[in-house]
Amino acid sequence: MMSGNANDISRRGRIGLLIGLALLLIAPFIGLYPVFMMKALCYAIFACAFNLLLGYTGLLSFGHAAYLGAAAYATGWLVRSGGLTPELGVLAGTVIAALCGLAVGLIAIRRQGIYFAMVTLDMAQMIYFVFLQAPFTGGEDGLQGVPRGKLFGLIPLADDRLLYYVVLAVFVAVFLFIIRIVHSPYGQVLKAIRENEPRAVSLGYDVDRYKLLAFVLSTGIAGLAGSMKTLVLGFATLSDAHWSLSGEVVLMTLLGGMGTFAGPVIGAFTIIGLQNFLADQVGSWINVIIGVIFVVCVVAFRRGFVGELLAWQQRRNKG
């Protein structure tokens, strides 16, 4: 699996990331619709979480939406019917998603490689059906009317622009956290597992433990994305746990660049943007377009945007 330079972000990389951050900071003032931006940021968090597992650990979790959905429903219910303040609701959602991840991880770890992917898909489908039946989720109608409430009980979040900066802050925190994990000794072991698992085992690492922890971290952060999304949009529905979303997050990561930091973010914005922009014009063709992008990426564009850019840069440096 190709990766970008996971060990160090060059000075140029840092400048690029700062420019991206600056753009995000001024977004509401240059006419971008805050609700769209918040939705894209939530899915960017989701894609970053997924990338931690696929790009940096080498594990394909093909049912990752289940954790986003679990947190979305948990937060939605706790804030709407349980009276929790938003930050506690989000925290609870994240924890619940991580617990789901722990349960699924313990089972899925029993198989490697492509079987792991199949098992995660099926466990996620099981979770989806549980949500479909459970009364508190509202089934097909979804869990609606989730209030935004007051952050810490003090700051009302009803205003779109204010909430946007809260979401942006969370996004930046998650982004930095993931960089931290990847550069830590733990992250180095994950990289070793991705590149040559038998060797890591022979070096004495309890590989299953490392993989499980990565899985729990990834599902927890995916849950964080789901919780935030519920606050922003005010509802949690079955779409949040559906296998098509699981497929989309793979595409976001693949398209943007697996194993890079900015890749998943760019992939998320691109896919969400495409869906928003094209959905009205093209109807069902959007699925075809997503499918075509998938096929093209797998056959000819495996490194994704950022991956290709980095590879091109490296070639230029050498030549």
């Binding site: 199949m118 466990m123 096929v295 056959v299 495996r302």
Partner: protein, 294 residues
């Protein structure tokens, strides 16, 4: 008359419906196992090929007046040819790299197929009439059994056992199995392995399409009918293990029956019982019930 407090007609009726579903699970997991065995690709598009088979039957009847019996042969050929094209143009690039790419590519293909059919036919289903010869029902006393469903069980199990025989007991099957273990050696013996691979994928696709035609009069033909089914079939192959053909068949039928039983006693759990069993099997015997690999 009652069994465990359930009237016998309800009990046996659900069991019979479960057998019908089980035959479809068996047919599809068989195709998946054969393709994975030889190509190393987990074919997510298998569900889409099944769906296309059903639509071929529908369009053949609706627009060209081709009846069910012809299309039972026609659809597998058409979809098989499509499979061959897919293998030659796309799949062959993926054999040397990580198997997840095969899964992702076929996932993308499934999305494309679903999107296109959705655009053409909409999401709500199309109806396909039961062929005249098989219409009507037989009153078995404990339930009224539509004749068509009996036919489906017989036909699909025959095809499954025929495929098993072909792979396990004939020369062609021997080449196939050898090609799975050691393609280079088999190639050295003069067997054209790439052609064999291509035809295998085509045959797998044809098998899926056949299942689709068999299913057409029974369920709503919708663009999404394949993907929801294939996710369950994945569980079937994980439970059964992809090493054994007979294992796939037995597991598929057994799971269909268990699903039917669940609908009798605890209907709410019927959509997840297969996944629960998968989880249990993984904890006890990770390689699967009939699996050879660890």
């Amino acid at each position: 008359m009652e069994i465990f407090g359930i009237p016998i007609q309800a009990f046996l009726g659900q069991l019979l419906l479960g057998l019908v579903n089980g035959s479809f699970y068996a047919m599809l997991s068989l195709g998946l196992a054969v393709i994975f065995g030889l190509l190393g690709i987990v074919n997510f598009a298998h569900g889409a090929l099944y769906m296309i088979g059903a639509y071929v039957a529908f369009v053949a009847l609706d627009s060209f007046g081709i009846n069910y019996w012809f299309v039972l042969v026609l659809a597998p050929i058409v979809v098989g040819a499509l499979g061959v094209v897919i293998e030659r143009t796309l799949l062959k690039h993926l054999y040397k790299i990580d198997p997840i790419y095969g899964l992702l590519l076929t996932f993308g293909l499934a999305l494309i197929a679903e999107g296109m059919f959705r655009e053409k036919f909409g999401v709500s289903g199309q109806q396909y009439p039961v062929p005249e010869l098989l219409q009507g029902a037989t009153n078995l006393g404990f339930m009224v059994l539509p004749n068509y469903r009996a036919w489906v069980v017989v036909a699909s199990l025959t095809v499954c056992l025929g495929t098993w025989f072909l792979i396990e007991r004939t020369r062609l099957g021997a080449y196939l199995r050898a090609g799975t273990e050691n393609p280079a050696l088999v190639q050295a013996f003069g067997i054209n392995v790439p052609v064999m691979v291509m035809l295998t994928y085509g045959a797998g696709a044809g098998l899926a399409a056949l299942a689709g035609v068999l299913a057409a009069p029974v369920i709503q033909i919708t663009p999404l009918m394949g993907s929801n089914l294939i996710i369950v079939v994945f569980a079937v192959v994980v439970i059964g293990g992809m090493g054994s053909i007979l294992g796939s068949i037995i597991t598929g039928v057994a799971l269909g029956l268990i699903e039917g039983l669940t609908k009798v006693f605890y209907p709410e759990a019927s959509s997840i019982v297969v996944f629960v069993i998968m989880a249990i099997v993984l904890m006890i015997r990770p390689a699967g019930l009939f699996g050879k690999e660890a």
